[in-house]
């Protein structure tokens, strides 16, 4: 069986194919576990990016800060950060800035075919067996195209401990109570 290329699967996962190509690919993906897993990984990546909503922002100010940083380099960037109007930035601006960096990074990622294929091959290999990992959101247990993430309540920052026996714990305090989430590899 001839499998679609990684780039075709990525475009398929992002609904960026025409109707006919999509139909043909869909037939293959439905019947091929390996390609289903690859598509699901692409979709998860997109979903994770979609979760962080971009707040309403002062885009002009953001643009001028970015321009200043690019033009003047890191030192000038430091000066911009020290300016009073920048000091009063609210945290939403930082989130938006982070989102832009992620978007830019993803653009480079999607453009550079060889790097992408290499990395995705590695990710596909990793998806072969259950893997337990601590992520920014919480504890993620992946197995093939399926996953379960035990998240920290309200995005609380957690201390984690790892047991070489196959367990990760994430501990956080909220409202005067300690919660300990654990995920286990069987």
């Amino acid at each position: 069986m001839k499998h679609p290329s990684e780039s075709e699967l990525a475009l398929f996962a992002g609904n960026e194919y025409g109707r006919i190509s999509r139909f043909l690919l869909n037939r293959h993906v439905r019947e091929c576990r390996e390609c289903t897993a690859a598509v699901a990984r692409f979709e998860m990546l997109r979903a994770e990016m979609a979760v962080a909503a971009i707040p309403d922002l002062d885009w002009s100010r953001l643009e001028s800060e970015m321009r200043a940083n690019i033009r003047l380099g890191i030192e000038a960037g430091e000066c911009v950060r020290l300016a009073p109007e920048v000091r009063s930035l609210n945290p939403r601006l930082a989130i938006a800035f982070g989102c832009l960096i992620v978007l830019a990074g993803t653009g480079v990622f999607m453009k550079n075919g060889s790097v992408r294929v290499e990395r995705l091959s590695s990710a596909s290999k990793a998806a072969a067996g259950p893997v337990l990992e601590s992520t920014g959101d919480g504890l993620e247990l992946r197995s093939g195209a399926s996953s379960m993430t035990l998240m920290n309540h309200h995005g609380a920052v957690a201390d984690q401990t790892v047991s070489a026996e196959g367990e990760i714990r994430a501990r956080y305090v909220e409202g005067g109570s300690v919660t300990i989430n654990s995920a286990y590899l069987e």
Binding site: E174, S177, E186
Partner: protein, 366 residues
């Protein structure tokens, strides 16, 4: 994709299954802003549950662990949510958050509850236990409670001997330590697999553990090693000797790693592999977990340059447990590296949010 989101029906997606003789009863379950989204060929379920439970027994509850199973989503594992360091009197209620995100291909969708929540264990104030204990939560909760008693007692002693200012200084020190506490991100896999990591066999080496000795620890690490390859450590193996006069049924060795810049991190722990471990006095045994740990920090691999181990927990066959005393921790570099106990974290949080008077009132409750 809000158009594809739909409210979840809690009755269909989550089943809370409490045993009939459980000392806790379910009062209510809120699903908050839980959502199901279809994203291309995948279903994403964001469940934000809040379970309100009542202590229906006659003893005070000091800890609870809920077992979370989602077999369709995580065929190779399971999860739990625990609430240690509580003091719930009979007929009192408390709330526990359970936040889970599930992703699976659409074609796998089946009927019935997607998430099952059960009680794995309840710990009481006399350290007695109720529950199936599938996750060994009795041991974990007993250790947390023992550490909690140790730390409450320490802060009370400071208050009584040196006064409020000294207590305040201790708590501020704890908060500073928590803020500075560096930790690594870890990916765990079985049988030599590791998440997204490619290593060359040429860079593999076997590294020996160095050990920090605790004078009154009932168990002593004798020797240990692990296969190291860049930022991966595989199949750690540690030999321990029971120095005490009682049989030991569980040992855990704390595991510190040093990066190439000389920074130490508490990487994790190496526990006894077998639940049926029985280590008689004067005998040796090996801890042999068959896992691979991959360490990174802010997305960058952390090359492991050295490893240090220390005895962090011991459980005797009579159920009694040993944890390092505050005095021992204070006199060793461990206090700087180890995360504070859940109770110390909770007490520091009370001070940070409600002030010294609230902290003193909390200490006096016990």
């Amino acid at each position: 994709m809000p158009a594809q989101d739909r409210a979840l029906d809690p009755a269909n997606s989550v089943k809370v299954d409490l045993q009939p003789d459980s000392p806790l009863s379910l009062i209510s379950m809120s699903m908050g802003d839980s959502r199901a989204s279809a994203r291309g060929g995948a279903t994403v379920l964001d469940l934000h549950m809040s379970l309100t439970l009542r202590n229906a027994g006659l003893r005070r509850v000091r800890g609870v662990t809920l077992l979370i199973t989602t077999q369709e989503f995580a065929p190779g594992g399971k999860a739990s949510v625990a609430r240690p360091c509580i003091d719930v009197a009979p007929s009192q209620e408390f709330t526990l958050p359970v936040d889970v995100r599930l992703v699976r291909p659409v074609q796998q969708a089946g009927g019935g509850p997607l998430v099952r929540v059960q009680i794995d264990g309840v710990l009481f104030d006399d350290l007695s236990f109720f529950g199936p204990n599938k996750l060994n939560s009795q041991r974990a909760m007993t250790f947390w409670e023992t550490e909690a008693q140790r730390d409450r007692s320490y802060f009370k002693r400071v208050l009584q001997a040196k006064g409020e200012k000294a207590l305040q200084s201790e708590i501020l020190l704890s908060l500073t330590k928590q803020a500075e506490h560096g930790q690594l991100d870890v990916a765990l896999s079985r049988n030599g697999r590791s998440a997204g990591s490619v290593v060359s066999s040429a860079s593999q080496r076997v590294a020996q553990f160095a050990f920090l000795t605790m004078p009154d620890a009932p168990v002593q690490p004798v020797q240990g090693w692990a296969e190291i390859s860049g930022n991966e450590a595989r199949s750690p193996e540690i030999e321990v000797l029971n120095k005490s006069s009682k049989p030991v049924r569980y040992v855990e060795i704390g595991w510190m790693v040093k990066d190439k810049d000389g920074n130490d991190y508490l990487a994790g722990s190496v526990p006894a592999s077998s639940n049926a471990m029985a280590l008689p006095p004067g005998q040796k045994s090996k801890l042999l977990p068959d896992t691979t740990l991959k360490f990174s920090k802010t997305g960058r691999p952390v090359d492991i340059q050295g490893m240090t181990g220390f005895v962090s927990e011991v459980e005797f066959s009579d159920g009694k447990v040993w944890v390092p005393s505050r005095e021992q921790l204070k006199g060793s570099p461990l206090l700087r590296i180890m995360a504070p106990s859940p109770e110390e974290q909770r007490l520091a949080d009370i001070y940070a949010n409600k002030g010294l008077a609230a902290l003193i009132a909390e200490l006096n409750r016990f």
